[in-house]
């Protein structure tokens, strides 16, 4: 009962903040890209995870929008963003984004993301370090750690309980139940399938970039590495791998948190990122 109330409360917050973000479609060299944005101040770009949390303006964006100009683009192939036929690798994603930033006239940005989004952010920062003022990466793949192989997300994705278990520290908590709900409409199934298709194209044959380690030294800006202490999908050892190649990085582990800190430990996560970007 209590958990249901909490779910309803989050729903209400989503409703209240919804009007905050304005969706727009930007043409990026033929790739029609959906982007939501709100707020004033320094440009702050959030790159979403494979969950596709960019499709709706969520409360945590709204919190950031109080002090930054928050931009939340949807990756090619996700939701209503086009251009998936031009995407084969994470590097293609990086090129897509630098062209989006050019199109929007964003010269210097605070850039970060969770999971897949964090990895793309790192790839962008390696290639165009002068464009990234601050870089934050949360629970992101990108490396391969022999001692702790990444589990196969595609193996468990059909099993809602197993998926919830993999993504959350506490799979019984209301946010876990809300984000990975038991019941799904056809439309949600199709959206999820589409999102997983994009992810599969990027990581199916090799779930990391073997060149990342030798390129990260090019990143010159301050870096924040944020990890859920109990991330079972991309364990903290992957954050340690980033850290090894980004000696300037601040390392912050979020206790009682799994793979999705923006949902499982929202307040702590949002504040850590905001503080770093101020």
């Amino acid at each position: 009962m209590f958990e249901t109330l909490k779910k309803l409360k989050y729903g209400a917050r989503v409703l209240l903040s919804r009007s905050g973000g304005q969706p727009e479609t930007v043409d990026v060299n033929g790739r029609s890209t959906v982007i939501m944005h709100a707020g004033q101040g320094a440009p702050f770009v959030y790159l979403h995870s494979a969950l596709g949390e960019s499709l709706m303006w969520l409360p945590f964006y709204q919190t950031w929008a109080k002090e930054f100009r928050v931009l939340v683009p949807t990756h090619p192939g996700f939701g209503k963003s086009g251009g998936f036929d031009q995407i084969d690798t994470v590097e293609d994603m990086a090129f897509h984004y630098i062209e989006l930033f050019d199109a929007l006239g964003l010269d210097e940005i605070c850039l970060g993301g969770v999971s897949l989004g964090g990895w793309i952010a790192a790839e962008i920062a390696c290639r165009w370090p002068e464009r990234v003022k601050k870089l934050w990466i949360a629970d992101a793949p990108g490396f391969w750690v022999d001692a702790e192989p990444l589990p196969d997300l595609f193996r468990v994705m059909q099993d809602r309980d197993a998926l919830r278990e993999l993504l959350f520290h506490d799979p019984n908590a209301h946010m876990a139940q809300l984000i990975i709900s038991a019941e799904r409409k056809d439309e949600d199934l199709m959206t999820a399938y589409q999102s997983m298709t994009v992810l599969a194209r990027l990581v199916w044959e090799r779930p990391y970039n073997p060149k990342l380690a030798q390129r990260l030294h090019r990143v010159r800006c301050p870096v924040l590495l944020l990890w859920g202490a109990h991330d079972k999908l991309v364990p903290p050892s992957y954050g340690e791998a980033y850290r090894k190649h980004l000696p300037q990085a601040e390392w912050k582990v979020i206790p009682n948190c799994g793979h999705l800190p923006m949902f499982e430990r929202e307040a702590e996560f949002v504040e850590a990122v905001a503080k770093f970007c101020r």
Binding site: R155, D186, L189, M190, Y193, Q194, T197, L199, A200, R206
Partner: protein, 404 residues
């Protein structure tokens, strides 16, 4: 109707508690469950069974490709087909098929199929398949480009067979400086092409346009076949011609015994071994392997698949298998032959644990007491060499003249 004998080469020795202990007979099923000593005998028996089908007068035998699983022990069907070129004399050898995207470069398929065609004296049927979902897990091959790559690979193979080499091939996924396969296929312009499918409209339309043959793979409800063949006929009309029966294949397990009762008693336990163990995990579908719409449709149509059937009644009602006395099987097959309009039947009875002698008995009864009645006049005259029965990409019918 042409009668082919289909074999998966299933593994019969899974532990009794397999279904309770393991979630899949595919991809991650521990290969410690495989025993190479038993495997040796099994291959012998299975190859014997297939060459027996030739002796009994089946029009062809079918082998297919699956990886890292207990359902079908032919990761390379071409190896088995190679053996069959030497063990069979008259029947067609249908490899249905090679999963083109798993061959890099797919030129390898052009080569191996040409070898088989030459070795068999022009008896090969060349199956070109996208490969089932689990294969993409097994080989870590990108499923999101599966269909695009499959088409490119198919075009490359057909061109390699029909255009004098060497030539350069350049497509999105494949670049080949020298396409020049030795040997070339014996059947001209190339062996008949069959495409096994499970009902995706995209594939149906493609096969219709190319005038290849569409093989509905077994283990689906009869309604699925009805729908698929009706869509196929429509697609052929749209492409400007009327589908020929040989362009449509119906895959279904068939078991014949002396009486209906005996047939069920002998076959049923072995069908359940197959359903409860070997079909576990076959539905594994990697994202991007199909369109989101088809993916949802597949999830919703799961009740049309053999894996979820619970009772013998379900099996009979859905015609997931045709089991009975010669008279019963004859009647059912004639009925569905008419209803489906299919000109090729892919029968088979080895579901894993069926004793080899029962498999042979059923095949004998089928060959003697069913086959002559369900065959069309034309396709029945096999000894005269009906040559290449499937149409080719150009749409011409050729006589090979080499067989026999």
């Amino acid at each position: 109707m042409q009668c082919y004998f289909f074999h998966l080469m299933p593994w019969p020795f899974l532990p009794d508690d397999f279904a309770e202990t393991y979630d899949s007979a595919w991809v991650w099923i521990p290969n410690s469950l495989y025993d190479p000593v038993k495997g040796h005998t099994l291959y012998q028996e299975y190859i014997n069974t297939l060459s027996y089908a030739d002796e009994l007068g089946f029009d062809g035998v079918c082998v297919n490709e699956h990886h890292q699983n207990a359902y079908g022990l032919m990761p390379s069907p071409n190896v088995i087909a190679g053996a069959l070129t030497q063990r069979t004399k008259k029947c067609r050898i249908a490899v249905i098929g090679n999963a083109l995207t798993l061959y890099n470069p797919p030129l390898r398929v052009a080569e191996e199929f040409a070898m088989l065609d030459v070795m068999s004296g022009g008896r090969l049927v060349a199956g070109m398949v996208v490969g089932s979902g689990p294969e993409y897990f097994s080989f870590s091959v990108d499923p999101t480009h599966a269909r695009e790559r499959w088409r490119e690979a198919l075009d490359l193979i057909v061109k390699a067979w029909t255009t004098p080499g060497p030539f350069i091939w350049n497509s999105k996924h494949y670049f080949q400086r020298y396409v020049n396969p030795w040997p070339r296929p014996l059947q001209q312009p190339h062996p008949p092409i069959w495409v096994p499918g499970v009902g995706s409209l995209e594939t149906i339309e493609f096969v219709a346009q190319r005038r290849y043959a569409y093989m509905g793979i077994p283990f689906f409800h009869i309604d699925v076949f009805k729908r698929v063949f009706s869509l196929f006929r429509e697609a052929c009309e749209k492409a400007g011609y009327t589908a020929r029966p040989e362009q449509m294949g119906w895959g279904v397990p068939v078991y014949v015994a002396e009486t209906d009762k005996q047939a069920r008693e002998e076959f049923e336990p072995h069908l359940w071994y197959f359903v409860r163990n070997l079909l576990r995990g076959i539905g594994l579908s990697p994202p991007g392997y199909t369109t989101p719409r088809s993916a949802v449709a597949i999830i919703k149509n799961q009740d049309k698949f053999l894996a979820v059937q619970k009772t013998w009644d379900d099996v009979e009602r859905g015609v997931f298998a045709v089991v009975g006395s010669p008279e019963t099987v004859r009647q059912k097959l004639l009925h569905y032959k008419k209803e489906l309009g299919a000109g090729v039947m892919l029968t088979g009875c080895q579901t894993g644990t069926l004793p080899h002698e029962l498999a042979r008995k059923s095949m004998e009864l089928f060959a003697r007491e069913v086959m002559p009645y369900v065959r069309d006049q034309e396709s029945g005259i096999r000894s005269q060499g009906s040559g290449i029965r499937s149409q080719e990409s150009g749409g011409e019918n050729q006589e090979s003249g080499v067989r026999n």
